[in-house]
Subunit: 136 residues, 2 copies
């Protein structure tokens, strides 16, 4: 059963990126929680912490064409009532790292938070854990 939950979690994460890649605003909207507060931080954007603003942001992104996106290395960090998936996103030749938080709602894993931010590294040459970053 636990394995099934985790499979469904990774499937929900994949549906998120399928909706993203296909610029499918309706599929994207279905993925976001209805009964829990949500937040979304697009790269370079201030946080959106209102479901309507989050959904509208995706519509605006898709209306502008939206970037091509591919993901690698999706991994579940924890799962309970809330679950976290981390993955790398390849977007328009840039490498981002994303946190996707899901909540178990009505038997589905639905998004409550997405944050993507740039990574200054080559995936083929990951730095050690102790590497200093440019800011923190």
């Amino acid at each position: 059963m636990a394995d099934d939950r985790r499979r469904r979690l990774l499937a929900a994460n994949k549906r998120f990126y399928d909706a993203f890649s296909n610029h499918n605003a309706e599929a994207m909207e279905r993925l976001w929680a209805r009964h829990h507060p949500v937040a979304c931080i697009h790269p370079g954007w201030p946080p959106l912490a209102d479901r309507q603003a989050v959904i509208q942001s995706w519509r605006d992104i898709f209306r502008n064409g939206g970037p091509l996106i591919d993901i690698q290395g999706a991994r579940i960090v924890f799962d309970g009532d809330i679950a976290m998936v981390l993955c790398f996103e390849m977007v328009g030749g840039q490498l981002l790292v994303a946190t996707n938080l899901f909540v178990d709602e009505d038997g589905d894993w639905r998004l409550i938070h997405h944050q993507a931010s740039g990574v200054v590294m080559d995936l083929a040459d990951p730095p050690s854990a102790g590497r200093s970053g440019p800011l923190h």
Copy 2:
């Protein structure tokens, strides 16, 4: 009681930034969950998803002097067994937005995730929700 939980949550968020500002590795270590998986994404870094690597990353950052940091606009998005605080960080003249996830552990709010990423905006002139970002 709910108000007390939220006050303690914002206090834990403040302790995190106090430890950060004071380059206090011991205080920082105490803030991270012991009994739950943790992850941390410093700006520009790949994700760290191991408590020892996360703690070591802060030690390395502090050993290098560490940046000056100030925060604004901390707000709780949700709180339950897991709680999310969003805030802006002013770090070395740059504006970042941070997600801090906490878990209620042994009666304390402890960190299970931190992600900070750059914001391309002026705090005094926030864009509308529908603004297009540089990538997404």
